[in-house]
Amino acid sequence: MPLLELRGINTHYGAVHILKDVDLAIFPGELVCLLGGNASGKSTTLKTLLGMVTPTTGDVVLDGEIVTHHSTSYRVERGVTMVPENRRLFKRLSVKENLELGAYLRTDRDGIANDLERVFEMFPRVKERLNQKSGTLSGGEQQMVAVGRALMSDPRVLLMDEPSMGLAPALVQTNFELIQQIHEEGVAIFIVEQNANMALSIADRGWVLQTGKVVLDDSAEALLANPELRASYLGESGSV
């Protein structure tokens, strides 16, 4: 059974039709990616999954339960978390407070303490900067805190919106290694990316979104080999 699923989703912003009959499913422990150009509706898809946008028609299914009209907190409580586009830390709060907010809905103190240790292990730098205002962190450090904050909710599926955006090329590589590492711990990951080559090199499966429609749905290898995709998305540089 899929962990998280979109069934025939149509989403409008006002009268504008953004997502058109989108179907996708994320299975437990999978690493999948959603590719697409600017304004194709990637972030909207992600927000629909998390419940920050309510679709006009269609269903969002979590663990077989239809949660289309359930709140975001309901879904977060059940293991869905996101790392937002541009990281978006709570800038005037300290790193520690940011991490604590990641665990906002949890009440298991021991579990939280454990996960905090896990984050420190993964990012020793975060531990050094615990009392610093997060807005003053460098871009790379902010990325660590953003991922750490998401992990603090002990997610089963992590939704990442363009995790490599705005990172230095050297950091992009590290970042993807990190995503794989989190994936290996058993967390399902859903990456939204424009950096198609990189995303497909670590993903199991992927979708390609074009003006709100899923135009390709295949395994990562097949997508990498797909001539259409190569022509329109991968190009020379490998990014859109």
Binding site: L101, K133, R149
Partner: protein, 592 residues
């Protein structure tokens, strides 16, 4: 980054920035002319600071050259940069700024003497010219200003040349004299309570201000007292610092208890005037603490906060006064308070529900509207059968507390009651700030969408902020009602919202201690919208000063007067630099 922090200077500090000095001269000239034309020197001349040499009126001008000269000379020392050697050029720079400021006045004097612009500028008057000429000939007056301005500027510049210790001493003396002079009513009242009138009789001039000898005595004490006790306090501090954390927190708790106890006995040593003043201050502390939760913690810019103060006040009046025109159950105040809290909380929900869907400027405008609507409802003929319209509700009884009655004619009892409620409000604020709810508020303040993505129920969380804020305001309203004995719609004008907001901003949004200090200083010294402060003479200039303070704070110290302990711990020099460094990058990344 830390490795280089302690290295010797790697680049030379830039020299004295003359353009900055000239810019500040111009600011000084304009400020002086503006203050003079706003009428402050003439209007405030009656109140002495040091009798007979310095009046509040002259002080409103004298501070300009001094403060601007020292501001112009201040320089941020960056990491890796040696501090510039200070020399006589700094004195010259200060003198220049002072002279510039004085020239603003000299120019104004020439204009006032030769032209008549009295029509648009009411203060363009012979009295102004006379005052600016120190009651001598205009030419002599101008000369005196040049000399005075230059000297004060020179002193301002000298602040950077003298050793830090001397600077600290000078500032202590100047500030002590000013503060003691401003606190005249309060201190006279307080010392009378201890039968120490001799002291205040000696230092103060009867009609306001310190005597010269008194000022000297204050100056001597300001230097002597720190010398006598500084060592001991440092020793105690160090000892507390060395204690294990739980013992230290116990010491803090004891100190807090002692402080609270002192505050509770304070009213008994104060006379009517001081108690009245502090009761008013306390009412605003309550309001400011409530608004601090809404604006400071949850980041909801509520410009109609007075609405809840009004609902609290009117509900109390209706429920307790025998003169309530419609419904008049004449409940005792404590019982009424329960109804008041519930009802105001509900009004908070009712106003909050539509408002919290909005964000930013829209929200601010709508709350402003709601604030006015509530006042207009109380004023309206339509509801005058309930609230008495413009006649308001009179004959509101005091609070019967068994051993006596809290009522306006006995300010001591009011102050005590206010203190109790302030205690409750502080405790509630503090607990909330460190609670899960408090954290959710801060998350929403920082980034509402992301807060939602973390699982915060933003709707109910924001509503909670509205309700808690409303309830704290209703406490204030309920006490206010019992204190003044009769209430009218005019007590709840928009200005009240604005003043409370200024108090919160100046004190430091989201900072409990700051907000309290802000309320005590601003309301205590300047006064509230209708309530006089220590400097009663300020009267018409009160709002001007509030406005100027607000602008200055927003520009220079957006974090407020009292630095947040938690925040300032985080903001070391290093991070300040990083902040400046990263600003461009972060702003680019996140356009929202």
């Amino acid at each position: 980054m830390t490795a280089t922090a302690n290295d010797a200077s790697t680049f030379e500090a830039p020299g004295l920035d003359w353009r900055r000095q000239i810019r500040f001269s111009a600011i000084g000239a304009l400020s002086c002319a503006f203050i003079a034309l706003a009428g402050m020197p003439v209007g405030l001349d009656r109140r002495s600071i040091v009798y007979p040499v310095l009046s509040l009126g002259y002080l409103s001008l004298f501070w300009v050259p001094f403060v601007l000269a020292s501001l112009a000379g201040s320089q941020v020392v960056l990491e890796g940069m040696g501090e510039r050697e200070r020399d006589t050029r700094d004195l010259a720079a200060g003198a220049l700024v002072g002279l510039g400021s004085a020239l603003g006045l000299v120019g104004l004097m020439i204009l006032v003497k030769n032209f008549n612009l009295r029509d648009p500028l009411v203060n363009w008057s012979p009295q102004l010219l006379e005052l600016l000429s120190f009651n001598r000939s205009t030419t002599l007056g101008m000369l005196l200003w040049v000399v005075l301005g230059t000297t004060l500027g020179l002193l301002g510049g000298a602040m950077h040349v003298v050793p830090a210790m001397v600077r600290a001493k000078i500032l202590t003396v100047v500030l002590s004299v000013l503060i003691v002079s401003v606190l005249q009513t309060f201190l006279t009242d307080l010392l009378e309570g201890f039968r120490l009138e001799v002291f205040t009789d000696f230092i103060y001039y009867k009609r306001g201000g310190l005597e010269i000898l008194g000022a000297l005595l204050v100056a001597v004490l300001a230097i002597a007292i720190p010398l006598l006790v500084a060592g001991r306090i440092k020793g105690l501090r160090a000892r507390v610092q060395k204690m294990p954390p739980d013992e230290r927190s116990r010491v803090n708790l004891v100190l807090l208890g002692v402080g609270a106890a002192l505050l509770l006995v304070l009213p008994f040593f104060l006379g009517k005037i001081a108690n009245e003043l502090l009761a008013n201050v306390g009412l605003f502390v309550l309001l400011a603490l409530g608004l601090n939760i809404v604006v400071g913690l949850a980041g909801i810019l509520d410009l109609g906060y007075v609405a809840f103060f009004a609902v609290g006040g009117y509900t109390t009046a209706v429920l307790t006064s025998p003169n309530s025109p419609g419904f008049s159950p004449e409940l005792p105040w404590p019982v009424a308070l329960i109804v008041v809290v519930v009802l105001t909380g509900l009004v908070g929900l009712f106003i909050g529900a539509p408002v919290i869907r909005m964000r930013g400027d829209y929200l601010a405008i709508v709350t402003l509207g709601f604030g006015e609507i509530i006042r207009l409802l109380f004023l309206s003929d339509w509801l005058s059968g309930w609230f008495g319209g413009a006649q308001g509700i009179t004959n509101i009884p005091g609070v019967d507390v068994g051993i006596g009655t809290v009522k306006g004619t006995d300010p001591r009892s009011v102050f005590l009651l206010v203190l109790v409620f302030c205690g409750i409000a502080i405790y509630v604020s503090w607990r909330l700030e460190h609670s899960r709810l408090g954290r959710a508020w801060m998350a929403i303040r920082e980034d509402e969408d992301v807060a939602e993505a973390m699982g915060v129920n933003t709707t109910s969380t924001k509503l909670m902020a509205f309700v808690v804020g409303a309830v704290l305001a209703s406490f204030s309203g309920a006490i206010f009602s019992a204190k003044v004995g009769s209430i009218f719609p005019t007590s709840f004008i928009m200005l009240v919202s604005i003043i409370i907001l200024v108090v919160v901003i100046v004190g430091g949004m989201g900072n409990i201690a700051g907000v309290i200090v802000g309320a005590v200083v601003l309301i205590g010294v300047l006064g509230g919208p209708k309530q006089p402060g220590l400097l009663q003479e300020l009267g018409q200039f009160k709002l001007l000063i509030y406005g100027a303070l607000l602008v200055w704070m927003m520009l220079k110290r957006p974090e407020g007067l009292v630095p947040n302990v938690r925040r300032s711990r985080e903001l070391h020099q290093e991070e300040f630099l990083q902040d400046a460094w990263l600003k461009g990058e972060i702003d680019e990344e996140d356009p929202s």
